[in-house]
Symmetry: C2
Subunit: 302 residues, 2 copies
DNA sequence: CTCTATTGATAGGTATAGGCTATCGTTTCA
DNA sequence: TGAAACGATAGCCTATACCTATCAATAGAG
């Protein structure tokens, strides 16, 4: 059975005239006649009682037409739904971000994204890298904002920007009097780190070339804001990403924020997605909005 | 768009595997692939995000599949409806009968019809010949039980039986002492007649060869039972159809019921219907039930 | 790291379904 | 009686949905 046949059926039922119904369907009258006949044969019932003067629905015909009407209505609704979503920018875009980026970046882009692409429905979530990668694979999110390379795991990526690490230390720290801080200086410090499922902690270890003994494992905090509180209380130093300096509550917290004298101490933030994700344009739009709303403490890559 | 495509869509959405879905639909995998691709092109959206290891619905796909599911469900319901009505004996059969037949015949056949064809849903109505013919033409009823020939008006008919006219007269009437009553006797009587829209009144005029002056127009009653009351009250005689003698309240009403000495004084009862009425079998079934439940006061024609 | 199995996509050929024009048979109306 | 209107039928043609064979990409085993 064919949807076209059902449309023919509805046309004849409404106009009660094969010729007019055929015109209405943009086919010839014989085509319509034969298709109605075929439909009647398939269903095993007579739908119309016809003679050369009138065409009338049989009682069964009435019932069948009612079903056909509902069916066609469903298809129309389906096409309508498709039309709304034809714009690849439209519809849900489930965005995951790592916790050391999410609270500082997403507020910057939420309003601009709404303004630029009102038809887009972004849904944000907040998890560590490994979880985001799993959710990507399971189609539970569409794109992840990560600070690590995931191309080796079969994902695609759009590099966005390099986010420098800044040093924070307590006010009375020895570094207070030092004008310029280099990477070498960092090796000497007592670095506080996030728990190891955060990519940030691994990256700090790498950047500072911290060796085993120097790591302050006993104090690994679970959130960046908690870590800052530790520093504020004089328990040590740490590196934090530039965006958290901009958006975080540094002022008044008593910690000293210091830029580093090195272009190397950065993490690269990228959009990561399944390579066959069909709405690539939505990702590019997202990337564009992110890049245009960043503070100049980070280095854009486009 | 095609219903087949929607079924393919549902299969892939459910099994998340093109090959298995193809087997489930009894087509080859390339067929399924190309049809899904075609559907995606027609709708202008990507329904599945696929790679060589997994097939997953996109958010739009989810929405579309929901519509498709409802659509297919409608079609299934439609086929089911058709199946139920495939039996030409099933479903509504709207039966009209003339008022001088209806109250005496229909009670005789109602239960037998229910027993023999429980799937049939007979709906009875009661109107004069002209109205019944109009309703037949307008598809408001499916078949009429008439006492007149309607083949000249483009209807089809199944003759059922010849129903003799019986004479009824008051107890103290001169005919009381006469053993055999012939048609000639009737011409001398003061005949009471129904109003002229009833075919019975025309037929009595014809049978008795009543001429203008003898007709008792001022007393034309509207119903047969009323007419019998007139006779009972000694206001005249009349002819009534045999079934009304059988089923009517003759006993105790004080009227005398007399058979006529003539095979001519009958009216022929037939089923009348539109010639293209599709459920001819239902009519034949009805005819059969009627014929098998008649009293022997009438002469069956089959 | 190579080999193989699995999976969806593609290519090319064929058969059927659905389309058309022309015409018929019947009925209605002038 | 002739013309017009209408649905059905016949015969032909094309688009499309189907098939088999094969490709390309990936994952997992040895």
């Amino acid at each position: 059975m064919n949807l076209r046949d059902l449309k023919y059926l509805l046309a004849v039922a409404e106009l009660k005239h094969f010729g007019k119904a055929a015109g209405h369907c943009f086919v010839s009258q014989p085509t319509l006649s034969s298709q109605i006949k075929k439909l009647e044969e398939q269903l095993g019932v007579t739908l119309f009682e016809r003679n050369n003067r009138s065409v009338e629905l049989t009682p069964v015909g009435e019932a069948i037409v009612e079903h056909a009407r509902l069916c066609i209505a469903q298809v129309d609704a389906m096409v309508q739904t498709a039309k709304i979503h034809q714009d690849p920018l439209a519809g849900q875009l489930r965005i995951g971000a790592i916790p050391t980026l999410s609270p500082y970046l997403l507020p910057l882009i939420y309003q601009p994204l709404k303004s630029a692409y009102p038809q887009m429905n972004p849904i944000f979530s907040d998890e560590v890298t490994q979880m985001l990668e799993m959710r990507l694979t399971n189609h539970e999110i569409d794109v992840a904002l990560l600070a690590t390379d995931a191309t080796g795991k079969g994902f695609g990526e759009i590099p966005l920007f390099d986010e420098p690490f800044w040093l924070i230390h307590p006010p009375n720290h020895p570094l207070h009097t030092q004008d310029v801080i280099t990477l070498t200086d960092l090796r000497e410090l007592d670095m506080l780190l996030l728990s190891e499922e955060h990519c940030l902690s691994r990256q700090i270890v790498e950047v500072c070339q911290l060796d085993g003994p120097r790591r302050r494992d006993e104090l690994r905090a679970f959130g960046l804001e908690t870590l800052i509180q530790f520093v504020s209380n004089g328990l040590g130093c740490t590196l934090i990403p530039a965006l958290s300096v901009h958006g975080g509550r540094m002022t008044g917290s008593g910690v000293i924020t210091r830029q580093l004298d090195s272009g190397e101490a950065v993490r690269r933030i990228r959009l990561v997605f399944r390579p066959n994700f069909p709405r690539r344009h939505a990702l590019e739009a997202l990337a564009e909005v992110i890049l245009q709303n960043l503070p100049n403490t980070v280095r854009c890559l486009a």
